[in-house]
């Protein structure tokens, strides 16, 4: 069988990842740390990034791919500039998180896990953020918004649209 040939460009992003890999080379079991770093640099984990990690860490590509697809946090598709992450933990669910997701679907015209055409927003859901006291809760990148209702959804989108 022909080996998978993937072209890996030589650029600043790969050099940064390469330097990180060097720094953890002697650490046991570094794969998940490296994947976190890579997703931080590239925003997602396309096949060529996984191939690069596989080569540098000398771990089979199938193993890297297996780990990437196992964990919810890792994504193989590009994300929007703002990732809207609606908490679907029990407390939020009881307080209407399902409706919050529907409001976003309605306003953004995308489904769960999808990105808007202008690459501004990605709509996702997550398991409990541990901010149940504020249910329903969502995060836009690192910012937390609590007690979200329809009005707040509109306000949030307006705010990030104006930031561009």
């Amino acid at each position: 069988m022909e080996a998978l040939k993937i072209h890996i460009p030589d650029n600043e992003q790969y050099r940064e990842l390469g330097a990180y890999i060097e720094s953890v080379r002697n650490m046991p079991g570094p794969l998940i740390n490296v994947l976190h770093k890579a997703q931080g640099i590239f925003g997602y984990l396309p096949m060529e990034v996984q191939a690069f990690i596989s080569r540098e860490l000398d771990i089979p590509l199938s193993t890297v791919y297996g780990v990437v697809t196992f964990y919810n946090f890792f994504s193989m598709t590009p994300r929007g500039k703002y990732v809207i992450n609606v908490c679907m933990g029990t407390a939020c669910y009881v307080k209407g998180a399902g409706k919050v997701v529907d409001y976003f679907k309605d306003e953004l015209k995308v489904g769960e896990g999808e990105t808007t055409e202008d690459n501004l927003f990605t709509l996702t859901t997550a398991r409990c953020f541990g901010a149940c006291g504020l249910a329903p809760v969502l995060m836009v990148n690192e910012d937390v918004y609590g007690h979200v209702d329809r009005k707040k959804v509109t306000e949030i989108l307006k705010k990030y649209r104006s930031l561009g």
Partner: protein, 600 residues
Amino acid sequence: MAHRMNVLVCSGASCISNNSLKVKEALLAEIERLDLKREIKVIETGCMGPCQLGPVLLVYPDETLYKKVQVADVREIVEQHFLKGRPVERLMYKSPLTDELVHKSRDVDYFKKQYKIVLANCGSIDPESLDEYIAVGGYEALGKALTEMNPDSVLDEIKISGLRGRGGGGFPTHLKWMFTKNEKSKEKYVICNADEGDPGAFMDRSVIEGDPHTLIEGMAIAGYVVGASKGYIYVRAEYPLAIERLEKAIAQAKETGFLGENIFQTDFSFDLEVRVGAGAFVCGEETALIHSIEGKRGTPRPRPPYPSASGVWGKPTVLNNVETYANVRHIILNGGAWMAKIGTETSKGTKVFALSGTIKNTGLAEVPMGTTIRELIYDIGGGAPEGHEIKAVQLGGPSGGCVTPEYFDTPIDYESLTALGAMMGSGGVIAMDETACMVNTAKFFLDFTCFESCGKCVPCRVGLKQMYGILDKITKGEGEEEDIEALETLGKTIKATALCGLGQTAPNPVLSTIKFFRHEYEEHIFEKKCRALVCKDLISYEINKDACKACTLCAQKCPVDAIKGERGVVHEIQQEKCISCGNCYDVCPFGAVMRLSGEN
């Protein structure tokens, strides 16, 4: 130099998202403006517990608790209270029972029935300051263990204390430690499970964010007992602030010599490393967590061998959760007998619960074991909001079950909750009122566990999917008579045959809702009725002709043009077109849209 006044600003995750950091900035600016810097100190603390009241400020020595403080309130607080000594009453807590102002934070109902051991420092010290931790007795327990005790005598104290795992299982901590200690191996490890995945539980997050050194100290003592020189803290990626504070605390401890080589000039050396999870609920299971630390897919494996014999990198490993380790320093300082006096016959000490759902006071509460469910949700939680009634509380997350009001006087301990079909779990308490549909709630949990099932064993991978399918059918009004029995048979089989804790407990929410709310299942199946008006396919919408003001707002918002009528002509919903989306119900300013179920 001592300050005349200390102002504690809660910077738990909840308060931060309600702007507490901006409030803190405003406080500092105002204090600077009035030149009070030498008299008043502002301290950022971890979660104080009453998240519903956030952002919360606590002013010492007066013990004044301010609630819902915003930037605009800051000037008044500083000028009136800090400068002139007149507390700002409009921002103080009022007892909902007597409507009177509460002047001392310790008299606030929410705190009165609590007993803080694990959360003792949360909300009272600056989590980023090692000095403050030391000032409240930090690392004294580690010093005492290393210089005045030997591993056996430390283990004895843990045994006497009766401490059991706070992550859910309730396994006696001293046994875990003893098994690992007795293994002959040069290399051993201590792991902390901070992959707090149960939806509705956030105590581990609060301990790490509010008092990270307590965890470090507890783990170092565990390392001393079992003979380990390295530890890992596995934290979920969803908790960036916890990770940041933990990394900072570890660096401080290393710098000061509480971690590293020859701690307290003894032969004991211990180092800690944070490993960040990547979003997989199953990694809360110990063997899956160990695989994840090793950089692999987080799938569980059959036990034995238990981690105490073969854990991370195949070496003997002791693994506990955050709250368990947070108890350790208190046991060493006060003696095991002290903790054994708190709690019930089988469950000693305290437990932290996270209150959420339809309850007045959401937040964290630490109570002695043996406190009743009623005390927890009414005396501390304040009960349901006005006009609502709690019909069940869900304990133990997706692995637990619900408990109904007739059992609310049950004292909380590991055994009594399991006997009710619920479980202690990690301590998530979610209150539900009449607006929650129990069939749909069960379906929600199954959706969660189906998604999070790692797929390794058949009962969990296939069985849960089958159960979900049946529940889905019932909520869509397509349920059949034999469905309830099929759910029970499947549930019991999965419990008996699944590989790990996830599968073995996943049917619990279904079995327990069938046990307590069988009538709701039957209504869905036989009457096509959802009494909570949640299940979309069983609801129809109608317009109350007497209340409709013919404003056309509902017609404008209807995505399928199912609403007839125009200005001045009362609206009507054409049932054959309606998709039950509920938009009209949400937008009607007059409450004229009615939701009906099972009334045909």
